[in-house]
């Protein structure tokens, strides 16, 4: 913590942007309905200059990070707060102020990244905080740009409107998630992955399957799912079963191909060792080849987690009962309710991340021994 930080080009940039904004005031056009008072302007400029100058003064990194973090987000809060009633009336000056806040947040993230965590908890918090700042600023810039510049709602609604719609429609969204994720995705994912796994074991046992199934597997995995989805709806009806079928087709072959590759991953010496024990084929499979295949199998599980969600949502475009995430997206876009479409996208992103994260976490505990997980050599 004794090292000093003075290399803040972002601080200098923030001062420059602040000065430019000062030249080009006012921040809102004169016909805006609720132009904020002089106190607001003074507060914003003061915050920008004070935070920027503070970042140029050598001080402990942690203190610098706290000052920058607080300064940048206060600026963002003041700027976004001033937008209501002034939609579409922001000027270049407003944009420059926002840019100044943004480079200060950038500086905050840079200083935070250079911090050395001394406890496990601090390390964890840091690893969450830095991407959180990143994400927050995407939302801040998105909000300010859509509302400040008056971008049409149909093209891109501001995140605040999406959030409000999300909060309003919890009931509908829950029903959609239940239909799409807990019925179609989960059933299809489990059956598809399990099927691919069993097929891989069979292909490993029976040479004729290995030669016949794998090339066909590669071909089927190249099939455009858009083409298969309506056929599945014809075969299995409008409800979740047809979507599960699409998910099975999507997930089966990545699992098959990865497991077959994984079963071949055990080294020659390890196999010879099993042979010297006169180990049976099943014993070799259970005690050597399957454990060695686990990194590959988890790879397939991760790939499939995203494929399954995409597959189920797209399959719903081709016929569905009046519930489901894909159904909602396709109907609400037709009714110009883009905020609802975005709300579904947000929910899908969150669920997809949780799904993926849970598998990645399981992977870390199962393949703890793999050099890529334990971070060691040999």
């Amino acid at each position: 913590m004794t090292r000093r930080t003075t290399d803040s080009w972002q601080g200098a940039a923030a001062i420059l942007l602040g000065l430019l904004a000062m030249i080009s005031i006012p921040p809102f056009e004169s016909d805006a309905t609720s132009i904020p008072g002089r106190g607001w302007s003074v507060a914003v400029f003061l915050l920008i200059f004070a935070t920027a100058i503070a970042s140029l003064i050598p001080m402990r990194r942690l203190v610098a990070a706290i000052i920058l973090f607080a300064g940048a987000h206060l600026i963002a809060w003041l700027l976004i707060g001033s937008l209501s009633g002034n939609e579409g009336k922001a000027t270049v000056s407003f944009g420059l102020l926002l840019a100044a806040g943004w480079v200060l947040a950038w500086r905050a993230a840079t200083v935070l990244s250079s911090l050395k965590a001394r406890t496990k908890f601090a390390d964890y918090a840091l690893r969450l905080l830095i991407p959180a700042i990143f994400g927050a600023w995407i939302l801040i810039l998105w909000e300010a740009a859509t509302r400040g510049a008056g971008i049409p709602f149909i093209l891109l609604p501001p995140p605040s409107a999406i959030g409000a719609r999300l909060a309003e429609s919890v009931g509908v969204l829950t029903a959609d998630v239940r239909q799409t994720v807990f019925k179609a995705v989960l059933a299809g994912y489990i059956l598809g992955c399990a099927g691919g796994f069993v097929a891989a074991i069979l292909a490993d046992r029976v040479p004729f399957l290995r030669r016949g199934l794998l090339p066909i597997g590669n071909m089927v995995s190249a099939l455009p799912i858009i083409g298969v989805a309506p056929i599945m709806v014809m075969w299995f009806g409008f409800d979740w079963q047809s979507k599960a079928a699409v998910v099975i087709i999507l997930t089966f072959f990545p699992m098959l191909v990865n497991t077959v590759a994984g079963l071949a991953a055990a080294g020659h010496m390890e196999r010879d060792l099993m042979r010297t024990y006169a180990s049976s084929d099943w014993q070799t499979l259970l005690k050597l080849r399957l454990p060695a295949a686990m990194p590959f199998i988890f790879n397939a599980l991760k790939i499939n987690s995203t494929l399954a969600l995409i597959g189920a949502i797209i399959a719903e475009f081709f016929g569905t009962p009046i519930v489901g995430m894909g159904f909602r997206i396709s109907t609400e876009i037709g009714r110009m309710n883009v905020d609802m479409v975005w709300a579904e996208i947000a929910v899908a992103a969150i669920i997809g991340s949780i799904f993926y994260g849970a598998i990645a976490l399981t992977e870390r505990t199962v393949t703890f021994w793999h050099p890529s997980v334990r971070g060691g050599q040999t």
């Binding site: 010879d272 060792l273 042979r275 024990y277 703890f368 021994w369 060691g376």
Partner: protein, 263 residues
């Protein structure tokens, strides 16, 4: 020494040819060799002389193409299926997802030993290779020398009188190697196993063996079999005795003879 000591390995005119696109490659030709119970036999020779191949034929990891070989009076396959030998590879080949204990338990699990018997044997063999207290560690938490000792423990855990070792200490540094050689001799003394040991190193071969088989390449064959006159009890400094140096000299001569027509 009056009653005849039974042969553990006996090879008669053994040959092995690999079929390649350029015609057959003779990895082994005309190998005649008897290994008696309790022998410590080293196989020494330059790369490509077939010493590892011969060990792999004994282990039924390769099939010979001519002549005959018997292990305890059985064919190599029968011997392997009756779990007649333990094999130690050039690398430890421990499974990284198993602890040292569990790695030693691996052959015991496969061969169907009872849980209590497994525990007993793990403790015994860990003690034998001086790794007691490391049973709960994972292989990647140990040094290379310790890993190789664990792999020796794994080969000793079940009841095989024959131990086949393919350059087990080749990847280790000189100091660790000396130490492990000394320990291996003690272990041989305590367990009374028959050991076949492949090596590149003349001092290692002379220090360890009761019988040294000198081999030469193209085609792989035995050029000399040297019975060691050293006592069974061998401190490390025996390597400076005239007797030791004389045997080492004979081995070197044998290796050179095998090479002479090559130049």
């Amino acid at each position: 020494m009056n009653s005849p000591v039974p042969s553990v390995v006996s090879a008669r005119d053994l040959g092995l040819a690999f079929q390649t696109n350029d015609g057959p490659v003779h990895a082994l030709t005309g190998v005649n060799l008897d290994i008696k119970k309790g022998d410590f036999v080293s196989f020494i020779g330059p790369s490509g002389c077939g010493k590892t191949t011969f060990l792999r034929v004994i282990a039924d990891l390769e099939k010979h193409t001519s002549g005959g070989i018997e292990i305890n009076g059985m064919s190599p396959q029968q011997a392997r299926e009756s779990r007649a030998y333990g094999y130690v590879f050039q690398a430890a080949a421990l499974y990284p997802w198993r602890t040292i204990e569990k790695n030693i338990a691996l052959p015991l699990e496969i061969m169907g030993y009872a849980k209590s018997e497994q525990q007993k044997r793990i403790a015994e063999t860990l003690d034998l290779v001086n790794l007691s207290g490391f049973g709960k560690k994972y292989p990647w938490q140990l040094s290379g020398g310790m890993q190789q000792r664990a792999s020796i423990a794994r080969a000793l855990a079940f009841d095989a009188d024959l131990l086949l070792m393919d350059e087990p200490f080749g990847a280790l540094d000189e100091i660790v190697r000396d130490h492990l050689n000394e320990q291996l001799l003690k272990l041989w003394e305590r367990t009374n196993k028959t050991i076949c040991f492949v090596t590149h190193s003349i001092p290692e071969a002379v220090y360890l063996s009761t019988k040294i088989v000198v081999m030469s390449p193209r085609p792989g064959r035995v050029t000399d079999v040297i019975e060691s006159t050293l006592p069974r009890e061998r401190p490390l400094d025996i390597r400076e005795s005239p007797e030791f140096l004389e045997i080492a000299h004979r081995v070197r001569e044998g290796l050179r003879a095998g090479h002479s027509y090559d130049e």
